[in-house]
Amino acid sequence: MATVDSRVPGSGDATARGSVFDSPGYHRARTAVLGALAIIAVAVLLAWPMITDYYSYNAAYYNGLVASAAISAILTISLNLSMGYGGMLSMMHSGLQLAGGYATGYLVVELSGSWLLGIVASVLVGTVVAMLVLLVSLRATYLYFGMITLAANLIVIEIGREWDPVTGGIVGISGISPKLGDEVMSKQAFYYVVLACLALMYVLQRNLVRSGVGRAAMAVRESSDTASAMGISPSRAKLLLFGICGGMAGLSGALYALQLGFINPDVGLLDNGIIFFVGLFLGGISTLIGPIIGVGFIALLVELIKDQARYTTLVLGLLLLIAMMVIPQGIVGTWRSSRMGRDKLPELKEGPLPDEVPDVVPEVRGVPEGTAALEGSGIVKHFGGVHALDGVDIRVMPGTVHGIIGPNGSGKSTLVSCLTRYHRIDAGQVKIFGTEAPATAHGVARGGVTRVFQVPHLFERVSVLDNVLTGMRMQESYSWLGAVLRSPAYRRQDRKERQEARELLAFAGLAGRADWLASSLSHGQKRLLEVVRAVASRPKVLILDEPATGLTSEELDALGRLCRVLRERGLAVVLIEHDVDFVMGLCDELTVLESGKVIERGTPEKVRNSAAVLEAYLGRPDLVEETS
């Protein structure tokens, strides 16, 4: 899963090609060195208490240092999931940590419960608080979401200061310690608890991001409209991801309280929270390992300047600004896009397109005679005083290609948006295979109607293959827990999906580019990929809004071929198009719009000879002759 902004794979500059950094040997060596470094890092972390015990009189201090950094890393991973992968600017992470800390503190100290129970309670509290905040701010756009989270953060702190019986007021709760039976667990043992939690959270992040759950969240991050067209409910995707983030933040709060033995309202202050932002951006946002590297780096730095502790904030602030300018993608992102760090992409092999239609292409059979696949009747849509649609009727039969044409501004795209519930209609009815269409855009997509937008809506920062996989989200039946635990059902579905996605890409002639970033494709390839992604969602009705704009003649042929295959499979294809030759050659039926009204419908021949259509496109010939 490559989600780093500006990596343009195989950008093909002649100097880089054939350099030592592109040789297979270098890539093998790099993998080996990085692998060895990772193993050494893990080994050092595991042996850390022994090392400090051997070399230092102050072992507990150095163990605490690493444990605290690991706790910060857990929170930063949570922040990375919500900001980097979910696109949700959260300023309440320090508040979530505080809330989690209170839960553990109260349970352990006031109710003398077990610390394990405290951790569970903290995770629950974090999840609930995060989900509540997200629920009330579902309608907010991302800046306002950030502000609501900031307000929520302040409210959590205020509650902490005022609710004395539970939170201990300004003083907070102290004497929180993990107990095994009657004995307090040694710091050294707790060090391994923290380390295990960090490892678990890293795996959780990785498995989540690489599964359909993560792809859905990233789709919503890029564009909630496009995600809806894939049948993904943006609200549910956000709620799930932010809930998980809240749980992780709660966990880090529990560990914080147990490690340091106290919790007070100052923990929640944004001034303390800044360190997580710095860690995230320094390490690399939207990368898996970035948060851990970033936090580790900062912990080291803070330790090095601890004699000048009052300059810490100043140094961190300056470091953050400099890092943004010099390595805007963070340490990991910059490494990945450098010549030394980038992945090698397979050479392009341009072969003939396969003739065999892959099985993934859906098939629609057994529809009762006379039932329209998609039917709109009496659709009215006003924008202020403008009658964009004024009582439009349209019937799209399965197994046909249905064209919608009309001059600019005649309401074609509005009609599509109304049929797919992106716009609320003022009057009229939409039916899918004879039943009333669901009320939401993602509901319509789940009902089998998938649309491709007029302007490309690709997920640019992920690979071509991941774009197609995102389209398959509706077929995935595993839960997020299944994805995180990599259950057998998840593995089976994931393998099948990847296989099918590659077959589809091969059929469309994009096989060689499957691992490219979507942003590196040409315009025509992007349009084709969008159609492929839509087909991957197994629609019964596919709506294409001006797909042919800007395509070369070969790309037009490929598109026409795809449309014919879909028609043979019994799908209904709706085509909005300006290219008259393309439309006339492909469509079985046409609907002509003019000023929000249907002026003609029928076969291409009928439309071609219609006086009303000629008038709409060319003006009235009789008037033209009179004036000239």
């Binding site: 907010a140 609501i148 800044i274 710095v278 100043l314 602030g317 953050l320 600004l321 300018m325």
Partner: protein
């Protein structure tokens, strides 16, 4: 609740309104909500404290020094924020850059005034007067008047001068404005300077009356932001209305219930308003955010 609470509210409100105005001024051409804006409040308060309370040099010197330092701070902020934003290209760059700038300024103030609880100089005019039976401090009246004058002046500047038109054009589309020959870079720089100067004046006038701690910049930013959101980000008049609402809500709740419940009320109001009216009470939707 005493009637004085209302005057206190209007006074605090005019400070928040000025911060809200400054946030708006910077936001319009840059689409950046400047988290470092509140630091200029501290700058104004710190200069007043240093010159009036410590050096005993009087308010005229304070005003001059504040204007110069605030203008410099605005220029500095522009570099500190816009440069990383341009070079980084990440969609969150603005928030990280402004937060970093805020923390840098905050730690500088903390280093200089680490042993000072509140930056509190003597007021410009001592004492107060009675207005229909309500005691009003001269400093409060002065601040409210200055706020109104700044608001009105900026509104005129925006709508009557060529520069104001250029600023409004840049707010709509900076790309088109460049094509029309408007020096967008200079307008952005100017916006930061004007914003910092207005905020610093607010801080300078507020310091004798309200509690301004060296590290309180972020709090002023957030209250100013709340005011801007209530008024709808973009209009000076909205900023004024929003500031007054926030100030009254804060002080009235504080005087009726007491303690830090005032803050709580303001933040809760912000959350409720954003939930019910996602684009502010009087505002147009803020597109692209």
């Amino acid at each position: 609740m005493s009637p004085e609470a209302i005057i206190d509210g209007l006074f605090a409100g005019s400070v928040y309104a000025l911060v809200a105005l400054a946030l708006t001024i910077v936001f319009r051409p840059t689409r950046i909500m400047n988290f470092a804006q509140g630091e200029a409040v501290i700058l104004g308060a710190a200069v007043a404290y240093q010159i009036v309370a410590l050096e005993k040099l009087g308010w005229a010197v304070t005003l001059g020094v504040t204007l110069v330092l605030a203008a410099f701070m605005g220029l500095l902020m522009e570099r500190m924020i816009m440069l990383p934003v341009r070079l980084s290209g990440s969609r969150y760059a603005w928030i990280i850059a402004t937060l970093a700038a805020a923390l840098i300024f905050q730690s500088l103030f903390n280093l200089k005034y680490f042993d000072v609880d509140a930056l509190r100089p003597e007021p410009v005019i001592e004492g107060g007067f009675q207005l229909v039976g309500i005691a009003v401090e001269w400093q409060e009246a002065l601040t409210i008047l200055v706020a109104l004058a700044v608001m009105g002046g900026y509104d005129l500047f925006l709508h009557r001068s060529a520069y104001g038109r250029a600023i409004r054009a840049t707010a709509h589309s900076s790309d088109t404005s460049v094509l029309m020959g408007i020096p967008v870079q200079r307008i952005i720089g100017l916006s930061f300077v004007i914003g910092a100067v207005i905020t610093a004046i607010a801080g300078m006038l507020a310091a004798p009356v309200i509690f301004v701690a060296p590290a309180a910049g972020l709090l002023f930013t957030i209250k100013g932001f709340t005011a801007a959101v209530i008024g709808g980000v973009g209009s000076p008049r909205g900023a004024l209305a929003g500031g007054m609402i926030v100030g009254l809500l804060d002080t009235v709740v504080r005087s009726m219930v007491g303690g830090s419940v005032g803050n709580f009320a303001v933040f809760a109001a912000l959350a409720v308003i954003l939930v019910v009216f996602p684009s502010g009470l009087f505002g147009k939707p803020m597109e692209a955010h």
